[in-house]
């Protein structure tokens, strides 16, 4: 009995296909999915229950008079279910707040890989700080995509010399990444469904977002904040590699210089 219940629960919690969730390739995604599926089943159940009551209420006729209220009826039909509802949603919120705190209240570990993400109409650029582990200064006036400087990296700042700019985000599996999100022109939305993350990039602000990819593969990076006519095609690939493949990629790119 207990076992079958366990089986049923784990089947429901793994029912990503029924709900059409894409695969999850991140460390925090498992808990997020579990909580999301729990919520989805609960609201499906509540919706079904409410509709059953609605249909039963109109289909099974009784005396009209019977509907008049008394205090006990009001408590039974209104306040008790309401109390149950309040408890249920408090519980769900509490769980959700803890997951939110876990992923957002604190920043990344100091050992996390640093990558800067810049959104502009209609492309994402990814910058790695290079050997010196420091990003070079950027200057809006120096923006010149035609001359190969889409981010406006200031050549006068030596930190920028070894910065590596890429049009795809390449990450090692199993290591936390600390993204700093920026936008040059309008608000963009940085979203990776398979990593279960989303965060807007806002002009004038640098916003940090951290997560740990776990599963090697190629995933979609979308823009999820309306940014103009090319919004639908503002995307890039996230390639998650094994640690050694990543080292290799970084090495090749660094020796080749910026592209």
């Amino acid at each position: 009995m207990h076992r079958s219940l366990d089986l049923l629960l784990s089947a429901l919690f793994n029912a990503r296909d029924i709900w059409r969730l894409p695969v999850d390739g991140s460390l925090h995604g498992a808990l997020l999915d579990r909580h999301l599926l729990l919520n989805l089943w609960i609201i499906l159940g509540l919706a079904a229950l409410a509709h059953l009551l609605l249909l039963a209420g109109v289909l099974f006729a009784r005396d009209r008079r019977a509907g008049t209220e008394s205090i006990s009826r009001t408590v039974r039909l209104e306040y008790l279910p309401l109390a149950f509802f309040t408890l249920l949603f408090s519980w769900l919120t509490l769980r959700a707040e803890r997951l939110w705190a876990l992923s957002r209240y604190t920043g990344a570990e100091p050992t996390a890989l640093q990558v800067e993400v810049t959104g502009m109409q209609f492309a994402w650029y990814f910058r790695y700080p290079g050997q010196d582990a420091t990003f070079g200064r950027v200057e809006p006036a120096l923006l010149d995509p035609g001359a190969g400087n889409p981010l406006g990296i200031d050549p006068a700042d030596s930190h920028g010399k070894d910065d590596l700019v890429s049009s795809e985000l390449v990450l090692p599996a199993g290591r936390e990444v600390d993204l700093r999100l920026r936008a040059l022109d309008v608000i963009h939305g940085f979203a990776v469904p398979e990593m279960r993350v989303k965060q807007n990039a806002v002009p004038g602000q640098t916003i940090h977002l951290h997560f740990t990819p776990t599963r090697p593969g190629t995933y979609a990076i979308l823009c999820t904040q309306l940014c103009g006519l090319g919004h639908y095609r503002m995307n890039a690939n996230l390639r998650v590699l094994s640690a050694s493949d990543f080292e290799h990629w970084l090495h090749v790119r660094e020796s080749r210089g910026t592209t």
């Binding site: 709900w19 059409r20 894409p22 997020l32 909580h35 999301l36 919706a47 409410a50 509709h51 009551l53 609605l54 039963a56 209420g57 109109v58 009784r62 009209r64 008079r65 509907g67 209220e69 009001t74 039909l77 209104e78 279910p81 309401l82 509802f85 949603f89 408090s90 919120t93 707040e97 939110w100 705190a101 992923s103 957002r104 109409q121 006036a141 923006l143 040059l184 022109d185 309008v186 608000i187 939305g189 469904p193 989303k198 807007n200 806002v202 002009p203 004038g204 602000q205 190629t218 979609a220 979308l222 999820t224 904040q225 309306l226 103009g228 006519l229 919004h231 639908y232 995307n235 890039a236």
Partner: protein, 604 residues
């Protein structure tokens, strides 16, 4: 509740002068430049009907383009991405402002509210007329944006800057968005005026005996929405003004230093604004706005369920409280639109708690509705069916709200079609069902005729199936990752192309369903025209209702004495399993003594 002091009776003098005035004016003046609240209410309904027709056609064009992008429109050529975004923007603006804000609040508010409180007119007839014409002008200005160079704006109904602040950000972001700003500013002014008018009308013009506790729930909904309107639209107006300054007077309320849009660097000065200011101001307006759109439907649903179940609305006092509570909490939740916008994460937690809190009064309403109809042998009129549909849509659409209110889940679902599904069910479809319910129920008062019930039932069944078939699957494409505001789902490069392509089969089904849903509305149009042309005359109180709008002396042509109110609405005397209505205006002294009545009681 104790008797409230005698409120106010209209003097014979005002009446006589309004009769004189009516006699002198020409028919055009009489119908168009009228200050008569009923005529103004009808004008609002025509305006909303025109807007909903245009808005629906635009939504079908969007769906067509999403699923069959290579189709070329007749007289237009291929649909460009900016065309799609212009369609979204005008669709959303029309539907939200010109349909769901005008029709329930100002349309039926004018037609029904005064008589429901036993008044013969609104408090400020001239302001009432002016606000209608301001809103009509707003509609013309909005639609004219299609015809200017660059076309309509492409920044959606939320118009986030810098996209909306900088002309170089895209086609439609020049003159197009200036017209949008002007239109919404006019709309905000018109709505504020009309809300002040409604609020004063309810406070000052209730007839004798119409205490606060005896007000129908529709009136409670209207005044709550009015209070929200005054607050929300004035903040919106200020926000629009600041955006106008950023666009034309080189200020930077919403623009940071060093913003480069499309190669143009904004003159860097010492002024460092932030787009987040707009998000705060806009959603401080935007969230109350969705309650303005839905509260009247909630009030009406309560009254109609009571009327056709022949019962007092269950927990009437609690219903009043939850209406006010929803209005109040509605002001405190705007941050739930900004969980991933760059707020402090602690703010996310705070806004998620206030948002979950609002689910409690909403759930209380659903419980009351279920208890009101529970095994009551209701009569299945079309108005009742649409109210049941409202309850159903409110439940299905509402339950996904608490999911979106959890920031950790919103970080996956924000701006996906899951959100589009949520707000179309709870706001768009429930709101439209409320409007249909109102139309079938009050049509005898609008046109002295009754809409055809058989056609009405077909209309109801088609609309309910169509609404669910269209909007339920959107939850799944959203969970699969489909973002909103995407002009195209095919021929997208990279891994994103695969992700989006996986949603195509469901998306085709959604488009077919949307056409079915829209097609069903032709049944309603046919019913409307047939009835207006040669429908049967209605009897004075065809639904055996208990509220004052059905009082014979308050009809359009009758100038009898104002009524006096003796009890709460939806009171019935029960005898041998039958329920006899006790209208609010019947003097208890004139009632044959019934063995058991459920009279006016103080507690619920």
């Amino acid at each position: 509740m104790s008797q409230s002091p005698y409120l106010r009776r209209e003097s014979a003098g005002t009446l006589a002068s309004s009769v004189r005035l009516a006699g002198r004016t020409s028919p055009i003046r009489c119908h168009l430049f009228t200050t008569d609240h009923r005529a103004i209410g009808r004008l609002y309904l025509w305006l909303a009907l025109l807007s909903v027709a245009i808005g629906t056609i635009l939504s079908l064009l969007m769906r067509l383009h999403l699923t069959w992008p290579e189709r070329v429109l007749p007289f237009h050529g291929p649909v460009l991405p900016e065309d799609y975004l212009a369609l979204v923007t005008i669709h959303g603006t029309l539907m939200l402002f010109f349909v769901l804000t005008t029709a329930p609040q100002s349309g039926f508010g004018n037609l029904i509210l005064p008589s429901q409180i036993g008044a013969r007119r609104m408090a400020f007839p001239l302001i009432n007329a002016v606000s209608f014409w301001v809103i009509a002008a707003a509609l013309v200005v909005l639609l004219s944006s299609t015809f200017v160079p660059g076309g309509s704006p492409i920044s959606g109904w939320t118009a986030y800057p810098p996209l909306s602040a900088v002309p170089s950000a895209g086609p439609g972001q020049g003159t197009g968005i200036d017209l949008w700003l002007a239109s919404i500013a006019l709309f905000a002014i018109g709505s504020t005026m009309s809300s002040i008018n409604q609020l004063v009308t309810v406070v000052r013009m209730r007839c004798e005996g119409m205490t606060w506790g005896r007000l129908p729930l529709t009136v409670w909904a209207w005044i709550t929405a009015s209070m929200l309107s005054i607050l929300a639209f004035s903040v919106l107006l200020a926000a629009l003004l600041l955006l106008f300054c950023d666009r034309h007077l080189a200020t930077s309320f919403y623009l940071p230093v060093g913003d480069v849009v499309n190669g143009t660097l904004r003159a860097a000065g010492s002024h460092n604004g932030s787009p987040l200011l707009w998000l705060h101001l806009f959603w401080f307006f935007g969230h109350p706005e969705v309650y303005i759109a839905i509260l009247p439907g909630m009030g009406l649903t309560s009254m109609i369920l009571g009327n056709f179940s022949r019962r007092r609305v269950f927990a009437y006092r609690t219903m009043i409280t939850t209406t006010l509570l929803i209005g109040f909490l509605g002001i405190l939740v705007w941050g739930h639109h900004m969980f991933v916008a760059g707020l402090n994460p602690f703010a996310g937690t705070a806004f998620s708690i206030s948002t979950i809190a609002i689910a409690i009064p909403a759930a209380a309403k659903v419980l009351s509705w279920l208890a009101t109809i529970w095994r009551s042998r209701p009569s299945y009129t079309t108005a009742f069916l649409f109210s049941l549909g409202f309850v159903s849509l409110f439940i299905t659409g509402g339950l996904s709200g608490p999911i979106l209110a959890q920031p950790i889940l919103d970080q996956y679902l924000h701006n996906t079609f899951f959100v589009v599904a949520h707000f179309h069910l709870i706001m768009a479809m429930a709101g439209i069902f409320g409007l249909f319910s109102a139309t079938y129920y009050w049509f005898p008062l609008l046109a002295n005729r009754t809409l055809h019930e058989g056609l009405g039932r077909i209309h109801f069944v088609g609309s309910l199936l169509g609404a669910y078939a269209t909007f339920l699957p959107m939850h799944l494409t959203g969970l699969a990752g489909e973002p909103r505001h995407y002009a195209q789902l095919t021929s997208i490069p990279n891994a994103a192309g695969d992700l989006l392509a996986r949603t195509l089969p469901l998306n085709r089904g959604i488009t077919w369903a949307a056409f079915f849903l829209a097609g069903t509305q032709l049944v309603f149009l046919a019913n409307l025209l047939l009835t207006l042309w040669r429908g049967p005359r209605s009897s004075p109180n065809p639904w055996d209702a208990t509220t004052l709008e059905w009082h014979p002396n308050l009809s359009e042509s009758d100038f009898g004495l104002l009524p006096v109110v003796y009890r709460e609405p939806s009171q019935y005397a029960y005898q041998n399993g039958e329920a006899r209505a006790l209208p609010q205006w019947i003097d208890p002294a004139l009632l044959p003594s019934a063995p058991s009545t459920s009279g006016d009681r103080g507690v619920s």
